[in-house]
Amino acid sequence: MACIEARGLRKSFGTTMALDGVNLQIEEGRILGLIGPNGAGKTTALNAILGLTPYQGELRVLGRDPWTERDQLMRDVCFIADVAVLPRWIKVSQALDYVAGVHPRFDRAKAESFLAKTSIRQGNKVRELSKGMVTQLHVALIMAIDAKLLVLDEPTLGLDILYRKQFYDSLLNDYYDRSRTIVVATHQVDEIQNVLTDVMFIHRGRIVFTCSMEEFESRYLEVMVNPDQLVEARAHKPMHERQVIGRSILIFDLKPNHVDRQQLAALGEARTPSVADLFVAVLGNHLGPAQGVAL
C-alpha cells in the first residue's frame, strides 16, 4: 500500500494556486526529500497531507482521507511542522507526561534516554532552553512515538550546523527502520542528500521532478570540463551549464542522451551532481535562463 497517494491535488489562496494539480505516490519505507523554493507549495502540500488544511482533489494518507479522518490518522502520523513550536510555558517533565498520556504509541523510556544524552533536565521549562535544545526536546518526543509516517517541515531551520547534523544522524540511526516513511521538506538540501532514498522537486504548486537516489546517482553526471574539450562536451546536450572560477561545469542527463558515462568522464572531472545543483538545473530549464532560482 502506498503511504501517501495524491491525484490532482489542488489548493488555492484567493487567486494564488498553492497546489496546482499535484500527483504523487510515496511508498512505505521511503525517506523523501521535498525540495522547492519559497512559496513553491511545500508547506501547503504537507499541511494537506497532515489534515491541517482542506483541499480539492484526491488524497489518501495511510489509506485515509486526512481532512475528514484526521483524528484517527494522527495516531499513526507524527510531524514537526516548524522549529520551536513547543509551548514556552511547558516543563520538560510535563511534556513527557502529556504525550505519554495521550499517545498510545509513545515510549517514554526511549524519550528519556534520548534526553539523557543532552543537557536538558526534566525540571527545565521550554523558555529556559536554547533554540537548539528545544528542537532536541521536540525530536526526543517525536522519535519516541512509533508512527508509520513522520513529516518534517524545515525541521532544522535556524539551527547551527552541529544541531542539524545531530538531528539527521538521530533520524537515521535511532528512528528510521525501513518500515517507516519519512517526508522532509527543506531548503538545506545538501545536508540531507545522503539521508534520502527519494527526492522530489516542487515548483509553483507542481511536482516538476521525482527520482530515487539510486537512479539519481546512475542517471545524472556532473563534469567539470577541460577547457579544450568544451565544444565536444556541449555537443552531448548537457541539461545545464555553469561557470565556476573560470571553468565550465556541465550536468548531463544520461538517460535520454544514450551517452556513455565513460565517454563523458573522459572530458574532465566527473562526479554525481549535488541535489542542489540538479535542482537549479531542472528549475532553470523550467524557467528559462533569464530567471534565477534561489535555494
Partner: protein, 310 residues
C-alpha cells in the same frame, strides 16, 4: 510522477508489534484539562492571591472585634452579623476574581496557542479539536466554579477559626463563639450559585468568548465585546427597539426582572438563591443557553480545525 517504480523491495527489518494499548477519549480529556491547568496558573493563583489579600484585611479587623462586640452590647448577634458580612464579602471577592479570570482565560484559550505557534505541536498529537475545545469549556464552566467553591470553604474555615481564637483569648464564652458556625449553612446555596449561575447559566458567555478566541486574529477582547455593543446600538437607532440589549441583560441578570432583584440586595444577597433548584432546572432560559453554548462550541471546534498559527 511517482516513486513506485523505485520502491525498495526489502521487507521491514522487524515486524513491530501493533501497540494494543488504547487510550480512551476520557483519558485524553483528562490530559487536555491537565494541560490547561499547567498553562493557566492564574486559574488557581488569582483566587489564592485574592484570598490572601482578603485575609490580611480580615485579620486586622478581627483584632478589634472583641472590643466592638462589647460596645455593641449584643455579643452573639453582633458576631453572627459580623461573620455573615465578612464571609459574604469573602465569597464576593472570590467570585469577582473568578469572573475576571474566566473571561480572560476563555479569550486567551484558543488564541494564545495560535499566537505562539504551539498549536502545531498540539495538533501533532492525537487529541481532537473537540476534546481540546471541550477541555477549555469544562475548565471555565465546571472546574473554576468548583475550585472557587473549595477556596471559599477553606477561606471561611480559616476566618472562623481565627476569630474563634481571638475571641477565646479575650475570654468570650464558647456559646457566643459557636453562634458564628451558622455561616456554614450558606455553603450549599453558595455551591448552587457558583456552579448553577456562574457555571451553567453563564455558559453561553464562555462559549461566545471561546468562539471569538478561536476566530480572532488579534484583539479577541474587542471582537468579543464590540460587536454585541454595535448590534444593540444599530438596533436602537434603526428600529428604536432594544430586544438584543434586553436579551443580553436577561442573560447577565440570570432571568430576574428588576422587581425581583431589588428584593435581594446587600452583601449577602448573592448567597440567597434567587431561584429554587427545581425552578432553575425547569427554566427554559437555562436550556436555551446550553443549546446556544453547544452551537458556539461547535463553531469553535470547526474554526480550530482549519486555523493555523497567526
Amino acid at each position: 510522477m511517482n516513486t513506485q517504480s523505485n520502491a525498495v523491495t526489502s521487507p521491514p527489518l522487524e515486524s513491530r508489534p501493533e501497540a494494543p494499548e488504547v487510550i480512551s477519549e476520557t483519558q485524553r480529556l483528562y490530559w487536555a484539562v491537565r494541560r490547561e491547568l499547567w498553562e493557566n496558573r492564574s486559574i488557581y493563583l488569582a483566587p489564592l492571591a485574592a484570598s490572601a489579600v482578603f485575609l490580611l484585611g480580615f485579620v486586622v479587623s478581627t483584632l478589634h472585634l472583641p472590643s466592638r462586640m462589647r460596645t455593641s452590647g449584643q455579643g452573639g448577634d453582633y458576631l453572627r452579623e459580623f461573620m455573615l458580612q465578612s464571609c459574604g464579602f469573602a465569597a464576593l471577592v472570590l467570585m469577582g476574581t473568578m469572573i475576571i479570570v474566566a473571561i480572560f482565560y476563555c479569550l486567551d484559550a484558543l488564541h494564545s496557542e495560535r499566537r505562539d505557534r504551539s498549536i502545531l505541536f498540539w495538533k501533532s498529537l492525537p487529541v481532537s479539536d473537540l476534546t481540546t475545545v471541550l477541555s477549555k469549556a469544562l475548565v471555565a464552566v465546571v472546574l473554576l466554579p468548583l475550585f472557587v467553591f473549595a477556596m471559599t470553604c477553606a477561606l471561611w474555615f480559616v476566618m472562623v477559626s481565627f476569630s474563634s481564637v481571638v475571641l477565646l483569648v479575650r475570654g468570650t464564652s464558647v456559646a457566643t463563639i459557636s453562634s458564628q458556625l451558622s455561616i456554614f449553612q450558606l455553603l450549599p446555596p453558595l455551591l448552587y450559585h457558583l456552579l448553577g449561575i456562574h457555571g451553567f447559566w453563564y455558559a453561553p458567555v464562555y462559549g461566545w468568548l471561546l468562539l471569538v478566541s478561536s476566530w480572532a486574529r488579534r484583539a479577541p477582547f474587542l471582537w468579543a465585546t464590540l460587536p454585541p455593543l454595535a448590534i444593540g446600538v444599530v438596533e436602537k437607532i434603526a428600529f428604536n427597539t432594544s430586544y438584543f440589549a434586553g436579551m443580553l441583560s436577561h442573560v447577565l441578570s440570570v432571568g430576574m426582572d428588576d422587581r425581583m432583584q431589588s428584593k435581594a440586595s446587600g452583601m449577602s444577597a448573592i448567597l440567597i438563591p434567587r431561584l429554587g433548584v427545581g425552578q432553575f432546572l425547569a427554566s427554559p432560559g437555562l436550556w436555551v443557553g446550553l443549546v446556544v453554548t453547544a452551537i458556539f462550541l461547535a463553531v469553535a471546534v470547526r474554526l480550530r480545525r482549519s486555523q493555523g498559527p497567526i
